[in-house]
């Protein structure tokens, strides 16, 4: 083919407006549907449907609300096996604009330290295109329950971290500032932070929307960006996956059911004191040692 005489010029892209938000989500097994093998007492993960970690949905909804109000773009980011693409597609169907999956054999076996490393690095890559204003994560996951990944990302990226946020009071794009409510021990803190920052959302703070038909059609057709470790900019393999994970899960098991059974006893009499005495007598009759311990004079 002939060389084109006039080189094609890229029309200038419109300056992106509004907020650049990234929500980190995780695909988890639906714990409500996990079964324990009746014979081996191991946890059966096969055939268990996967869902977006429920806590992440509060983060996603909050991000979508900010975008709807201030304009901008919401990217969902996940680290996981290739099938985690399903979770990202579902997030697109809920209204997210773009999805990135970082997936690589080298990430397998990551603990929270390695996970926050990989995610923070990928976030850095995303920020190269355009600076990120807010990173959202859920409060914790239902399969790990550590609540460490969000803070881990914030620390690595040097972001202010606003954890356990129950509401966003205001946001000032010009001033690059945000005011949030945060649940803390014994009260509510109202915090003001500069942007960019990282927010972990508390549960039950909003209700995830139903995407529109257009969201769903876009989700079904839109490509999910799939990044390998290299694509994500993760250069140091010693910080990834098993090798980058000081925590090791030794064993996962269901607590064995207790042998004792609950039992109903009939007690004559209605007065509380009578019932109490009768109960204590019953307990002591069954466990004489307990009686000895409980009735021994205090030293």
């Amino acid at each position: 083919m002939d060389e084109p005489i006039i080189e094609a010029l890229e029309p200038p892209k419109p300056e992106p407006k509004g907020l650049n938000i990234v929500v980190c989500i995780k695909q988890v097994p639906d714990s409500a549907q996990i079964r324990v093998h009746p014979v081996t007492n191991t946890i059966m993960r096969q055939g268990v449907p996967t869902i977006i970690n429920p806590y992440d949905l509060f983060a996603l909804e909050e991000a979508l609300r900010l975008r709807d109000q201030y304009d901008g773009q919401v990217t969902v980011l996940s680290m996981g096996p290739p099938m985690a693409e399903d979770a990202l597609r579902r997030a697109l169907g809920l209204g997210a604009d773009r999805a990135v999956l970082i997936t690589d054999r080298r990430f397998a076996g990551s603990d929270t330290l390695a996970t926050s490393f990989a995610l923070a690095t990928a976030l850095g890559k995303i920020a190269e295109e355009r600076p990120i204003d807010i990173v959202f994560t859920g409060k914790q996951t239902i399969d790990g329950d550590t609540a460490q990944v969000g803070p881990g990302i914030a620390r690595r990226m040097g972001l202010n971290q606003l954890t356990y946020v129950s509401a966003i009071d205001s946001l000032d794009l010009g001033q690059k500032a945000i005011v949030v409510r945060r649940r803390s021990e014994g009260g509510v803190q109202v915090l003001r932070s500069r942007l960019p920052c990282l927010i972990t959302m508390l549960e039950d703070t909003n209700t995830i929307r139903r995407g529109s038909i257009q969201d769903l059609l876009r989700a079904a057709r839109a490509p999910v960006a799939i990044w390998s470790a290299e694509d994500a900019g993760v250069a140091d393999p010693m910080k990834c996956g098993l090798r980058g994970s000081p925590t090791v899960v030794k064993r996962v098991f269901a607590p064995s059911p207790r042998a004792e059974k609950a039992e109903m006893v009939t007690i004559e009499g209605k007065a509380p004191a009578q019932i109490g005495d009768a109960l204590i007598d019953l307990l002591f009759a069954r466990d004489p040692k307990l009686e000895a311990v409980m009735t021994a004079p205090r030293p």
């Binding site: 449907p49 257009q214 769903l216």
Partner: protein
Amino acid sequence: MSDHFDAIVVGAGPSGNACAYVMAKAGLNVLQIDRGEYPGSKNVQGAILYADALERIIPDFRDDAPLERHVIEQRFWMLSEKSHTGAQYRSDEFNEERPNRYTILRAQFDKWFSRQVRAAGAVLITETTVKDLIKDDAGRVIGVITDREGGPIYANAVVLAEGVNGIVGQRAKLRPEIKANHVALAVKETLFLPEETVRERFNLAGEEDGVVIEVLGSVSSGMVGTGFLYTNKESISIGVGCLLSDFAETKIAPYALLDKFKQHPSVAPLLKGAEMKEYVAHLIPEGGYDAIPRLTGDGWLIVGDAGQFVNAVHREGSNLAMTSGRLAAETLIQLRAEGKPVTEATLKLYRDKLADSFVMKDLKKYRKVPRLLEGNRQFFTTYPAVVNKAMQMFLRVDGVDKASKEAAMMRGVAKARGGWWGVVTDIFKMARAWR
């Protein structure tokens, strides 16, 4: 933004998946919509998959479809309260390279099928209910409205693969409401048992060998219905289904019926120690040929259970669903290639294909069976009871001579039906319905 598709398929069960798959493979722009959280999530668990129908759509499905066991043995039981009389057929010839029937778990199977549909290029949206069809001024169906914001979505053809209730079709006044004596209500449980236990209890040598038991008699407590039991890899599917109208009339609770079946002395030992995994209830179209609604119109066509395509006598449904879905797809592909519109007239092609296939031929063959059974409950009550009584008398050694026993058995059979004439009539009726 308005979207336009070559076809919209309502439903992602076997019929909708077959239809969407074949169309997408042929390059049509297909949208499939299902109300379930994921395909299969609303579909009844544990079933028999008939390989042939699927093989005509995805020839190498055995490579990765989630199959439980292939069926090497079929048992038929006539049940009375404490006994069963049975016939069984087992053949090592069923242990062939491409087995003919499999047990499957629908939730897993439908998910797999749906993945193939998407890989073929169809666009699937889930958790979305189609509420109604849109028609143009001439009454031609041109698209669908869903329960989500942002619609309608337009298409050259809407395929109603919505299952037995046919609500969308009804709402759009394309078909009447289904009748209670045209559907059976089936309840079913999946019971977990260790793999080795399943094999031991059912005498299965191969890891993937399976057994099916079909049950008639006291299992339906006088209603028109049957029970069934299938072996899966690590579980057993057991269920019972009876006419919805019978449940309504007798006020028998479906779960109580299933509980009674599970406790039957012939069944209980097979289930001992099993843990319940799932309980589902679902309707099965059983009205047969005469219950089939209008199947085509301008811009729309019906496939699968929505068309009452179930052969109740042989417990076949998913294969009729897949086959009708495939034939609908082939029709729409051909019409598009020929640049023809999708109308009642051009869809004669689909009706002809159906008429030419086993779907309509089998339904026609058993046309009279549903009405016969409904009006002749002795097939579910008297006969199984009498047969079991007779078997017992025949086998018990108690000093009575054999000739007297045989005479008593014969008299018993005749008396149960008000004389020999009754028995002969029944045989005649059955033979005629079967023809």
